[in-house]
Structure formats: structure tokens, C-alpha cells
Subunit: 406 residues, 2 copies
């Protein structure tokens, strides 16, 4: 049994870095605050006797030796970067739950057969730099290190420069780090467990995701003298596409998702008809065929809108990963641990992407969900119960022990 | 006859201050660049022998004495602030055409009976600070000096502080400056004259305008795990209102106008359902009853959307002025001058607001339009022909002489 109070205290301590007035956390990847968070967590790891490796994309691996160090480690991990309006638990829980597993093993003097590792991956959130889940993506070869290095934030700063600046561009070549099995504990970020009043979500799969940047180009002109029928209003044309994003998602229930979360209007003046509007599109589904159908329908609608309106519309896919079913052995280990500990449980498909889906490409992987308040995350009011976090951490401990051996 | 080459040269000189790469001008009101523009124009005025008064809202009056200085001056003017993506002619033309009238009178040694004045008004554009047409609005008592002083830009800087900072907070109480008659020459900012192949637009009236700030409040949540039917998506609800703005305008042709030019999304992250969206609404019509109907329909639609969606929607009117018919004497003077000079002409209702509508509340007023390329303005590619600008300036000269007497 882990120490839930210690786990909670660590979560609250880490949440002070980048704490917002509304009780959330704003600690965007590769900022000074991210560096502070990384330093705090690696400091704790050293105190717990772990050895630390950093790879070239800034992924950090914190290792507890096993009896047989030729065996690949059983790993757990997540991320400590947050959304601009993020909470205290998204990602951070998975990393600190891993640390709590290690602290518990230390307390009890338990030596595992295979080594145990706790990882945190760079830029999981993707809100400052695209692609999302960058560190684990590079690690598993979903895209190249060069591609990730070149990513720019809105100010034009690159991942490579920012990694160097905060001192987390390590030496190890990403992917050249063996993994025997990977587990990730995470808050659900959705309302399913809470609604069903269950404590542990076993995650059979993660939805696939398609991200797009869309730019509509009209002609900026004066809002007064320009007659309605002569306008090329990029805002109005954008609203059609934005509504279609939701319509497409609604055509493929229950796992279709469609969101426009980001928009920039040019020149953004109240008496100027917008000449250019850029926005993001996020489509998801747990079925890759359906996700592909949604993709095709999106492109077809954009083409139709281009023809109907005569405005310029550019749509570009900027991220994609297919749905990810997890490995039966790892899903099984999570089920076994939950049953042994007697927690109420159900299966929950993950709508959010997680580093685990990239880890799953190089090792057997599985996830453990715990409820979060009202299913809310990516919001400063994100909240979770200490007892649920403790339960998830206990499941993590036992699932890892099953795979690592004692 | 004025000197069209000199007029053009002055326009090009002033357009260097804040010149953009695309050939436009970005010289927002009360910025350092605005100060440079003001200094240049007042310098030219001093060279032409004019005396200068600045009032407390930063309106500048440049005076050429008449034979009888107890007569109220015949004034012309406009503004020299620009949109963020502005052109060389909007506003600047009216001010420099006035200066060219004075220079021409000087060249010919003509003494008018009443004094002649050239004015430029503070913050006509309204893109940095609301209300729009601020200087002339305070001058005519449409709103108070205190109200204008308190206006803030997005960074929180106030009009009062910025006026002081650039040294254009004068002593004169706004409105305590007599006006015998007011003329304003301006590019049309619409396509009507060019389409009809006419040189001079006589402006019978200016459309009324209603501006709103609208805020839709939903609940930010994760774009992946949050099922479609449980969302409170502020972006999606906003698109309904944005489309209705155009639908309302289209119900009241030919002078109904509806534009959403400005938008801010919060938190503006691609995998977060927007929790708050703010946008501007611009409604216009030349008929006050119809404008009022549009206003009522807007509010009713917002109310209906609030009820249908359950999201919070706040709508607030931030500017309003009724349609403004111009004074028959001044419209007549413009007609007479155009006829005398033999230019092709037609009546054009102004869709854009102008300082002239506020001047019209304290003196007889009229306007002169000249064509601009493709009817485009509030755009860096705004353009006009030297010969048209010269023609408009000639009309201005003769209309002013009719009212001032020689
Ligand atoms: N878990 C999480 O917030 N991941 C970010 C990527 C996504 O949008 O799903
Ligand atoms: N002429 C002009 O651009 N005025 C600004 C106010 C308006 O939007 O009509």
C-alpha cells in the first residue's frame, strides 16, 4: 500500500510552480517554470536514490535498479507540462504516482527483479509546440528529432533552443532506452467514472486524433460602405467550417469528437471585415476507419465551401495518430491489481492522447484512470480526490510488481 | 484650382510615418507615430502661416484669418489616425486637402471674409479606443470628456494618459470653438463611385451605427474525453450569433450592414473546448427605424440563443449614433462647386462614420467623396488616383469659398 498523504503533498508542492489565481497551474513546456518543475522532481528522485538520464528531446528517466539489471525496466510515467489553463493533476499525477511507487518500495525495502523506472516526457500537451506528445513521439519514432526541434511557438522560439536554454537537452539518443513494460496512471479527464461511481478505469484503448490548421482568406474592407453581397468575409466563411466540425463529430457517435479551440482573426478590428481567419480543428474517434471518414468529410466540406464562397481556404493536417489498443498483458495486469485490491472498476476508452500510446509502439503498455471532478480538465478548476489518487497509485504499484517480479 | 502634385506629395510624405511593408500605414491614435504625424502636419500649417489651437481631447484647429474675424470660421477637416491595417488616404486626405486649400489661397493671395480653419480630430478610427470618432464626439457633446479620457486600449492604457504622453492634451474646452460651416473631403471607402465611373460623390447622409461587445461563457474542458452532448462550447454558440449578424443585415437591404470584425478566444488552445469567446458586432443602416429594428432583432436572437443553449451570453452596446442627414446649404455648396468645375457626379450615402456627423450637430455640414480603388479601405492596399484627389480638393476649395465669401 502506497502513502496517499505523501503523494498528495508532492502533488500540491509541484502545483505551486506556475500556480494560477484560480487554483490551477500554467506551466507550459520548456519555459522557466517547466525547468523549475523538472528540477524539483529530479531532486526528489535523487533523494529517493534514483539515477537520472536525459535524452536529446528532454525526456527524463529516473531509475531504481532491480536484481537483474540486464532486464529491461518496467516503466511508468507521464508529463509535468500543463495547458495555459491547466490543473494540478493532468500528467503530474502519473509522474508523482510513479515516484510514490518507488518511495513505497524503498520504505518496505522491496527489491524488484527488473529495474523500475519513472519517466516524464517532454511537451505532452502540445499547446505551445506542435506535435503534441512530442517527447514520447520522438522516442518511439512517430516523427524525427529534427522535426520536433524545428517546432516553433507563436513567438517563433524553437523547441531546440528552448531545450538548451532550460538545460534539458540531454545526450541519450531518443529510443535507445529499453522498456520492458509501460504503465501510465492518469486522471480520466472525462465524466465517465464519476457518473458511474467507479474508482478505477481500465483503459482498453485511446482514441485516434487528427489535428488541422485551417486558414480562410477573404478581403479586408470597411464594415460600413462595403455592401453585403460584395464582401469576402473570412469570419463568416470560417463559422460554416467551425459548425461542420461539430456536425461531423455528431455523425459518428459515441466516440466522434470535433473541436475548434483556437482562433486568430486578422486584422481584428471591429470595423474591418476580416481578411484572414486561422483556426485549429481537432477530430477524434476510437475507430480508425471512422476517424478517416471524418477526415474525408472535413476535406470535402472545405472543398465545397471553397467552391461555394470563392474564398481561399487552406487546410493542413498538423498531427495524426491512429487509435491505440493497449497490450493484453498490461491491461490484464491492471485488471488483476484492481481485483486484488477490491476497487470498483469499469473500462473507459480514453479520449485524450497520452504518452502511453507512443510507448505502446515500443513496449507492451497499459493505463490506469481515476475520476476527476465533473470530468473537467484542461481547466484551472480541474480537481480529484486524494483517496482516488491513492487507489490509482496502489493499482499502479501492483501492476508494476506483477510485470517486474519480486 | 489647387495644386494636385503638391497635395499628392504631402500625402506621400505623411504616409511614410507608420508605413507598412505592404504599402499601407499603421499609425494608431495617440501612439508615438501619431505624435510624429501630428507634428509634421502642424509644422506644415505653421509654414503656411496658420495659428494653432489644441483642445483637451487633442483636436487640433489650424486657422487662417479672414477679413472679419468675428465671423465663425468655415472649417474643413478629418483625421490622421489609421487602422492597424490602414491606408494612406482614409482621413489623411481630408486634412491635407484642407491644407492644400489654404496653400492655394496663399498662392493666389486670396483673403476670405470669414476665417478658414483646417482641423484634425482625435481617434476617429476607434480601433485602439472606443468610442469611435472620439475627438469630434466630445467636441459636439455626444459623450463627455471624462468618458473619453477613461477609455482603455487592450493593454489598459487610457486616452488621458496617452494624450499627455504625446503632448497633445491642449487647454481649450472641447466645443468652445465656433464653427460657421464644416466640410469634409474623404475617399468613399466603398465601390459605388468607381462602379458608376463618377469622380465626385455628393453625400446626402451617413448611415447610423450600433456597436456591441458580446461575450459567450461556456465551460472549458478537454477536447478528447468530453462527449459532444455534455459540452458548453463557447465557440460553437458564438458562430450562431456571428452568422445571425449577417442574416439581420441581409434582411434590411440595401443599406443594412452587419460585421463581426474582432474576436478573442479563451483559453485559445487547440485541445480545449473554448470556455469564453468575446467578439464585436457592427450593425448599420441609413434609416434609424430599421437600425433600431436590427438592434431589437439582435437582442432577441441573443436571448433565444441563451435559452436554447443554456450558456451565458452578455451583449453590451458600446457605441451608437443615429443616421445623419447633412445640411442642405452645405450639400448645395458641394453640388454647386461640382457643377461649376464640370466633374461627373452622383449622390453616395456614406456607410462609414465620419467626424462630419458630429460636426453636423453644432454647425451646417457636408461631405465630398472621391473614388478609391476597388472600393477598398481599412486595408493596406487602399489606393486612390491623384486626379480624383485633386478634383475633390478643387470642389472643397470652391464649396468653402461659397460659404466663407471672398
Ligand atoms: N492527456 C492530454 O491532455 N493529452 C493532450 C493531447 C490531447 O489533446 O489528447
Ligand atoms: N471613416 C471611417 O473609417 N470611420 C470609422 C468609423 C466607422 O467604422 O465608420
Amino acid at each position: 500500500q502506497v502513502n496517499g498523504v505523501r503523494l498528495w503533498a508532492s502533488l500540491m508542492e509541484l502545483a505551486k510552480i506556475g500556480a494560477t489565481e484560480k487554483g490551477g497551474v500554467k506551466r507550459l513546456t520548456l519555459t522557466d517554470l517547466d525547468k523549475q518543475g523538472r528540477d524539483l522532481v529530479t531532486g526528489w528522485a535523487r533523494d529517493a536514490g534514483l539515477s537520472i538520464t536525459v535524452d536529446q528531446i528532454g525526456n527524463v528517466f529516473m531509475r531504481r535498479d532491480g536484481e537483474d539489471n540486464t532486464l529491461p525496466p518496467v516503466m511508468t510515467g507521464s508529463h509535468i507540462d500543463t495547458q495555459p489553463t491547466g490543473g494540478k493533476f493532468d500528467g503530474n499525477y502519473g509522474v508523482l504516482a510513479g515516484l510514490e511507487v518507488v518511495r513505497t518500495l524503498n520504505d518496505k525495502g522491496i527489491k524488484t527483479k527488473a529495474p523500475i523506472e519513472v519517466a516524464f516526457w517532454t511537451n505532452e500537451e502540445g499547446s505551445r509546440f506542435v506535435p503534441v506528445m512530442m517527447g514520447s513521439g520522438v522516442f518511439c519514432g512517430a516523427f524525427t528529432l529534427e522535426h520536433a526541434y524545428a517546432a516553433k511557438d507563436i513567438e517563433g522560439k524553437t523547441v531546440k533552443d528552448e531545450l538548451e536554454r532550460i538545460g534539458y537537452k540531454g545526450d541519450q539518443v531518443p529510443g535507445q532506452h529499453p522498456i520492458g513494460a509501460y504503465f501510465e496512471a492518469h486522471i480520466e479527464q472525462g465524466p465517465v467514472l464519476e457518473d458511474a461511481n467507479k474508482v478505477i478505469g481500465v483503459v482498453p484503448a485511446v482514441m485516434g486524433l487528427s489535428w488541422y490548421d485551417c486558414t480562410v482568406t477573404g478581403m479586408e474592407a470597411h464594415a460600413g460602405p462595403t455592401p453585403m453581397h460584395l464582401r469576402k468575409d473570412a469570419m463568416q466563411v470560417s463559422t460554416r467550417i467551425i459548425q461542420e466540425v461539430v456536425a461531423i463529430a455528431n455523425r459518428y457517435p459515441p466516440y466522434g469528437r470535433g473541436t475548434v479551440g483556437m482562433m486568430q482573426v486578422f486584422p481584428n478590428s471591429r470595423n474591418v471585415i476580416p481578411g484572414e481567419v486561422k483556426f485549429s480543428i481537432d477530430l477524434r474517434n476510437v475507430n480508425d476507419e471512422l476517424l478517416n471518414t471524418m477526415h474525408e468529410e472535413m476535406l470535402a466540406f472545405v472543398e465545397k465551401t471553397r467552391q461555394e464562397t470563392g474564398l481561399g481556404i487552406k487546410i493542413e493536417r498538423v498531427s495524426y495518430y491512429p487509435p491505440c489498443p493497449f497490450h493484453p498483458d498490461c491491461v490484464g495486469a491492471v485488471r488483476n491489481a484492481t481485483a486484488k485490491l477490491g476497487y470498483s472498476t469499469m473500462d473507459v476508452v480514453s479520449g485524450a492522447g497520452h504518452d502511453a500510446i507512443y510507448a505502446a509502439r515500443v513496449a507492451p503498455a497499459g493505463m490506469i484512470f481515476v475520476p476527476c471532478k465533473d470530468g473537467i480538465s484542461h481547466n484551472e478548476i480541474e480537481d480529484a480526490k486524494a483517496e482516488h489518487l491513492e487507489a490509482g497509485c496502489n493499482v499502479l504499484l501492483h501492476a508494476m510488481l506483477e510485470r517486474a517480479g519480486v
